[in-house]
Symmetry: C2
């Protein structure tokens, strides 16, 4: 943290991976003085990132689905195509379990060692909103650093996977092979967001179950409404094997084709803009609520009103009007 933000920004923009790692550590820090430096750094690098053309690919799945193996296999495939790849692996469970970050990094050892690649496991922290903000900021840093593709890997726990879907160009859901009637750990809302469903571990004894699962998801996807702005054939389900490398090239082909289609039809830029606007609105309400929480008198007032609402003694709209009137006239300030 000794480097000035101007120097750090220049090094990141030059593609210096150590500087990038240092910059991400800075934005992840909770210290107020670090936060001020992070904001300064981001203000310098956001225009650089905006000038690059980077494909942001989100990959989400439940623990044990084989995310890291697939991400490494895909990353190595992309390197083989001459593309520079950054991986941001967000693990919401890491704060609790403590151990899986190092494990993830070790599992991506080959990719981590490759000169054109950058692998960064990140603890997700306690606040879902905090995860979203830090991931958005880390994406910008990776873009500024000149990578062609950024893989945002998230564990499908709670709301984090739909958060990831809101900040990428293409979003893939990872599913493990299972018997036809076996329950899968897929959160229902996430299927809404997935451009691709990738059935992992399609090798050896799991090849046949993987094919069945792929067929089941393909059928389920046909029952759902396709997005009006997508080309025919999407969303789709594919079977892949990280171990044997099968299906990886085909999956990438479909991902790149979708991204190119969205770019060529003016959809990609619109998606990014919509994502930025939505993020701004979410940040506005988050900042407003954070200010409320930081003011003891207002926080107490809000908690009391919420308790009245929960007990059915006060209606949500009437309670909200009282609170906001108090805030905007500075009663609690």
């Amino acid at each position: 943290m000794e480097t000035g933000t101007g120097t750090l920004a220049r090094k990141v923009a030059q593609g210096d991976r150590r500087a990038l790692a240092q910059a991400i550590t800075l934005i992840e820090s909770g210290r107020p003085d670090h936060r001020a430096r992070a904001e300064d750094l981001l203000a310098r690098l956001a225009p650089v990132a905006a000038g690059r053309q980077v494909l942001r690919l989100g990959l989400s799945g439940a623990p044990g689905v084989g995310k890291s193996s697939l991400v490494e296999a895909l990353g190595l495939h992309l390197l083989g195509q001459g593309l520079r790849v950054a991986v941001l692996a967000v693990d919401p469970s890491s704060q609790r379990s403590g151990g899986s970050l190092l494990g993830d990094k070790t599992r991506m050892e080959r990719l981590s060692r490759a000169p054109g690649a950058f692998v960064r496991p990140s603890p997700a922290g306690a606040q879902p909103g905090g995860v979203a903000r830090r991931s958005r900021e880390a994406l910008i840093l990776c873009e500024a650093a000149g990578f062609d593709v950024v893989l945002l890997e998230t564990v499908g726990v709670g709301q984090s996977e739909t958060g990831a879907a809101d900040m990428v160009d293409v979003f893939a859901l990872l599913i493990a092979p299972a018997g036809g009637d076996e329950l899968q750990g897929v959160k229902r809302g996430i299927m809404e967001r997935a451009d691709l469903t990738l059935v992992t571990k399609a090798d050896g004894e799991l090849l046949a179950p993987a094919r069945t699962t792929r067929g089941d998801y393909a059928a389920a996807l046909r029952l759902l409404r396709p997005r009006a702005e997508d080309p025919p054939g999407y969303p789709l389900a594919l079977a892949v094997s990280a171990r044997e490398g099968t299906g990886i090239a085909a999956a990438w082909e479909r991902i790149a084709a979708l991204a190119a289609w969205r770019r060529d039809n003016g959809i990609a830029a619109g998606m990014r803009e919509d994502q930025a606007r939505a993020a701004f609105r979410a940040e506005v309400t988050a900042a407003f609520l954070a200010r409320l929480a930081a003011d003891p008198a207002l926080a107490e007032r809000m908690a009391a009103l919420e308790a009245e609402v929960a007990a059915g003694r006060l209606l949500p709209g009437a309670a909200a009007a009282r609170l906001v009137a108090a805030v905007m006239t500075g009663v609690g300030a």
Copy 2:
């Protein structure tokens, strides 16, 4: 609108259907003086509603799925069981098309005429947040009026159906029969919320397709994660016919069983509390944003910041912090 709110509240609490209709008209009015009376009325009736035990059932589906016919058939079935039934039919398209409200009412003619029933079609209005608030308020009025079951019928357009899911005890998704590969107009996110999927029009030539569709949805539902707090067997898919009355009793049995299970296991009360808290938070941010929009200087500031964010020149978090700082220190007041 001549009646005083005290008298009106008393009549609604006594189950007077004319007074209930008048009260709903009052909460739907956009006039500020009506709004003040509506707030007063709701403040009087919320405690009455809180003291009743009412099953709120949400039914959503795309236009043409046969919602009104099914709601009427279900309503008549409930009357036959000795239950008093209120129907709130929210139609987001009514403001545009203008004609469907009367049509709906006519289609539920038998139910409308029954002494134990109340049928109220409502235009959804322009604001999605406004729909949610008015529906919540109309539900409270119906509860205060002593109905045993309130059916909240919403058209599956945009966000309104998930809004409905956030204010009922049991939520059913209605689907029309279709060939196995035919695309259905189901928004994916809504499957997340449905306790039951009801395949309508399971009669005559559509009986076989309805059975196929039911099987397809049952299979799709098995791929999704069941809710931890639900009894085994839910969510489920059933085929029903409003014309022949088949499946209606079975569907109600499963709905009532789920509601009873949630009540007996302390889940129903928690759901209502969570819904109230979530509604309060949504209302707080809505009220905050409404205040922003109502202040020309702040609205202009927000639009300018959002444009900067959309163009990639400013990060969402930094822009939001600037806006909220301006608001909370009264710069724009």
